[in-house]
């Protein structure tokens, strides 16, 4: 090999090593880029036979009848015609399971409303504190008892309003209602500080002289894009 060739070879090697060392250094650098991971469990009332969701409405006007197999559930306010909606989501069916140490960032009930009242009505969401079953619950044996406007509105987990008048929070029929936030309750269920008996939804002012009815799709309709849902967004490491 000539001296010239040797010189070029060495020069090439030197440059190559310089580039390599630079790349090596770059490969060892750590960026300060933020990483924000969330995990969400979506429980849906589909198929109709699922045990992940239990839903039934109770009717004051048919106080001893069970409506657990109906394809719709009502929340209504009327003279001796009030209706309440009970529903429960089985959190143990989240896969992977939500660890008891998880921090629940947001939990929302998603109910598909098909009929809205002509007046904007407030709906209260209460955490149920006693057991009930879809096949046996009636107005007369419901966990919260038969006295209307009980429990008091102030003890509700959250409220939303629904009705066709402009300005109402949920004024479009055939859509999921928004604003039903149950984060604290789900956090208590996951942490084990409260037992999951689900929720009861009732009109904020029962006993209206004019019947005001909201109708929601039940899991029994077996329609995936209308099924009741509970969406839980959480982080495993706060």
């Amino acid at each position: 090999m000539s001296r010239r060739a040797t010189g070029y070879a060495l020069a090439t090697l030197a440059v190559s090593m310089l580039l390599t060392s630079g790349a090596f250094a770059a490969g060892l650098s750590f960026s300060a880029q933020a990483l924000t991971p969330y995990r969400t469990c979506v429980l849906s009332g589909t198929p109709a036979t699922t045990t992940a969701v239990t839903d039934a409405s109770v009717r004051q006007g048919s106080a001893t009848s069970n409506f657990g197999t109906q394809t719709t559930n009502d929340v209504a306010s009327g003279a001796s015609a009030n209706r309440r909606l009970y529903l429960r989501f089985d959190l143990t069916q989240c896969s992977p399971a939500i660890a008891s140490s998880a921090v629940i960032r947001l939990a929302t009930l998603r109910m598909y409303v098909t009929v809205l009242p002509a007046a904007c009505r407030t709906v209260d969401i209460f955490r149920v504190t006693a057991t009930w079953t879809e096949a046996a619950i009636t107005w007369n044996n419901q966990p919260f008892g038969t006295t209307i406007n009980t429990p008091a509105s102030g003890s509700a987990t959250d409220t939303y309003n629904a009705g066709t008048p402009a300005g109402c929070e949920n004024l479009t029929a055939n859509s999921y209602v928004t604003g039903a936030v149950v984060t604290a309750d789900v956090g208590a269920f996951v942490a084990g500080t409260a037992t999951n008996f689900g929720w009861m939804l009732r009109d904020d002012v029962e006993g209206s002289s004019t019947l005001r009815t909201q109708t929601y799709t039940a899991k029994e309709l077996a329609t995936a894009n209308q099924a009741p849902q509970l969406v839980i967004t959480y982080v495993s490491v706060p």
Binding site: R3, L18, F24, Y38, A52, V231, T233
Partner: protein
């Protein structure tokens, strides 16, 4: 023409320097992973997650309530129903808000789905 020895040395010198540079970057195996680095997050708030359903399958996911601090971040969404896993990604708008991520393949709606979100950056 014969290249002078000084030229050869000029070439070898950086070579030595490069070697020294590389050596200074070496890490003892025990020091890697022995520490924990705090990873910053663009938000700790609750994010709204809605699966957009067509028929009986989720075709996209809308993530809402994204704060402006997450503007410009890359959002990756993965939906898993224990049978099918599908992902998609999008960039969070500069001002935050909401973004809809289309899934690579539709995922059948079942009683329980897992939706993983990963915001990288900004």
């Amino acid at each position: 023409m014969v290249r002078p020895r000084s030229t050869i040395l000029a070439i070898i010198a950086p070579l030595a320097a490069a070697t020294a540079f590389a050596a200074s970057l070496s890490f003892a195996p025990g020091s890697l992973g022995a520490d924990q680095e705090a990873v910053s997050r663009c938000t700790a708030a609750g994010l709204g997650v809605i699966q957009n359903v067509s028929g009986t399958t989720a075709i996209s996911v809308t993530v809402s309530s994204l704060p402006s601090a997450c503007g410009g971040a890359a959002l990756q969404v993965t939906v898993n129903n224990q049978v099918t896993s599908s992902s998609g990604s999008a960039t969070v708008p500069a001002g935050g808000g909401s973004v809809t991520v289309t899934l690579g393949v539709p995922v059948a709606i079942t009683a329980s789905e897992q939706v993983d979100l990963l915001l990288t950056g900004p």
